[in-house]
Symmetry: C2
């Protein structure tokens, strides 16, 4: 072996790039994934529709982003009248601390939820779902969980990069705190909304505010950079986000606007989780954010927090929000309802 | 569209097999997985060693199996003297109800564990780890958790296919019940041992015995057949089992010995989880058994049981057992210790 070293050294030094050890990279061959037999029929039907049509769009200018976002919002809003009716909720637009919000009230607030309120941050990569387009998850939570929800229409790029969204989130939290006991406030959201939920608690801790009684982070965008194993292992397995190299990575850059992406208010995985309130996290086996979710769960449990983890079989990113009739959607909202009911003060 | 139907029908009827809709299969291209940055340095070092050398062995005859099993047992046993010393435990071989067991006692049983005992079923696909080779996990649990452990050396193929292993497991449980309160008994195991833990509770329920106070199923082999999405999505991503088509699928057939593989005592995912004791489940994002684990977790929670789920970043099948110095190993045993402490009667 020793005799070979000089030869290897010479070969290596002739190469333009430093040699990569084969063991540092694991080669995974082409594969064909059948429909997940053990997922619900509704989820299997959704998977059969293929990848999201827009996953690999790359708007180039601010105007391109705006028209792309407007197209998405139109689609998302089209289903809302029927959803509101099905869920039996009323939605009212107003402002809290100068931030646009939607207050969603179900026709039957349950007795244990009479003095409770949930704050909701919508998902969409910090770019999608402005206005009422972002209220779908909040409407389902209010209707299925029989609880009042305030959904925050936070400012977004291209006009308002970081820290506008977090400033709005924090302002609404402080506003709600003024008239509600923190122990009766729950905070939740999916994807970007899950990350904002975590970042809000980090900021409330840092600024010495009382923390919410419980929180739920659905498949949170905990790391804005492509760090986390499932960005690679579930690349092209997930049929919603599909790959980091789709619109998602562009949105990360647009939102961060040059800020350090490992700042915990942008990538909450890098925060200090000591003293966190009870937290439930939800993801799926095909989720590009599987690692984002389980990394936060580990940090929480290693910090001593009560932290529950739910992983749905065969589910891609945030797919539990795609239809209230899907078994996994019912289970998502049932898990959140049970968790908030167990941990929020009555 | 309607005009095309007859033509499609004719083409379809000319084919030998029914036509497969393209959407039913998801194509995943070749990928290269870098080392998971957010896994511990110890786990990353382990992943760098590549796939288990034996994953694609296919012993053909009973004698081939026996010599293959003996080689594995020799390797597994070689590390045990140092492990026993490091963990500060004594190990004594005896019999309970005619079944070979090892009783493992740490030098410092904690006060809260004085009247508690854990029963352990080792892993190894129902074929590997006979005799003391199967005691590694039990030794680490006893030493790190400061608790007495009885590790069951159940009978295995090729000489003893199903139901020998489950009969032995059940006999030991009944034997331990004779001198211990069920609420002070915990049961745990990894892989095959996790599945046997679940199947034992199913059988105790069916036969009207008191159930253990809490159980832990590490990455349980809940479905002996290749059903479950991660058998496909983590195919060749997992570097321990690697693929169902390695020795694993052969072991399933050898163990089942012609029995119906969906029998809940062989594939506990098909059991009735109502009334289960508190259960903790553990897996990793690269685990071939990720779906086996999360499917059981969902069934438990949908049945109303207390069920915790832990998913380690970048971890393949059962890798938390590979070294007691690995961060994920320490966390695995800390999670189990905390769970048993919270749920077993003192």
């Amino acid at each position: 072996m020793h005799a070979m070293r000089p030869i290897l050294y010479i070969i290596a030094s002739l190469m333009l790039a430093p040699p990569v050890l084969a063991q540092e990279i694991r080669d995974v061959p082409v594969r064909q994934l059948p429909l997940p037999q053990a997922a619900s029929p509704e989820l299997r039907a959704l998977i059969q529709t293929g990848s999201m049509a827009t996953w690999n769009d790359h708007p180039a200018t601010a105007d391109d982003w705006k028209s792309w976002i407007a197209q998405g919002a139109e689609k998302a809003s089209a289903v809302l009248p029927a959803l509101r009716e099905k869920m039996g909720v009323t939605v009212e637009a107003s402002k809290i601390a100068g931030v646009n919000v939607f207050t969603i009230v179900p026709k039957d607030v349950s007795p244990e939820n009479r003095d409770r309120v949930l704050i909701h941050f919508h998902g969409g990569g910090y770019v999608l779902n402005p206005g009422e387009a972002g209220t779908g998850e909040a409407i389902m939570m209010a209707g299925l969980g029989h609880v009042r929800v305030i959904s925050v229409d936070y400012r977004m790029p291209p006009d308002f990069p970081y820290p506008a969204a977090m400033d709005d989130a924090f302002a609404v939290y402080k506003g709600v705190l003024a008239t509600n006991d923190a122990s009766r406030i729950g905070v939740f959201g999916t994807s970007t909304g899950g990350a904002m939920t975590l970042a809000l608690v980090l900021r409330a801790k840092a600024e010495g505010l009382p923390l919410p009684g419980a929180i739920a982070a659905g498949t949170p965008w905990a790391d804005l950079e492509k760090i986390g194993d499932s960005y690679f292992s579930n690349d092209s397995v997930d049929n919603v986000l599909v790959r980091y190299e789709g619109w998602l990575g562009d949105a990360a850059k647009l939102y961060a606007g040059g800020h350090y992406m490992k700042d915990p208010y942008l990538s909450p995985i890098y925060g200090d989780y000591r003293g966190f309130p009870p937290t439930i996290l939800v993801t799926g086996t095909r989720d590009l954010f599987l690692s984002n979710t389980v990394r936060v769960h580990r940090k929480l449990r290693e910090s001593g927090a009560v932290a529950d983890l739910v992983v749905f079989e065969g589910l891609s990113h945030a797919q539990y929000l795609f239809s209230p009739d899907m078994h996994e959607a019912k289970e998502y909202f049932r898990e959140l309802e049970g968790f908030f009911n167990a941990h929020l003060k009555r």
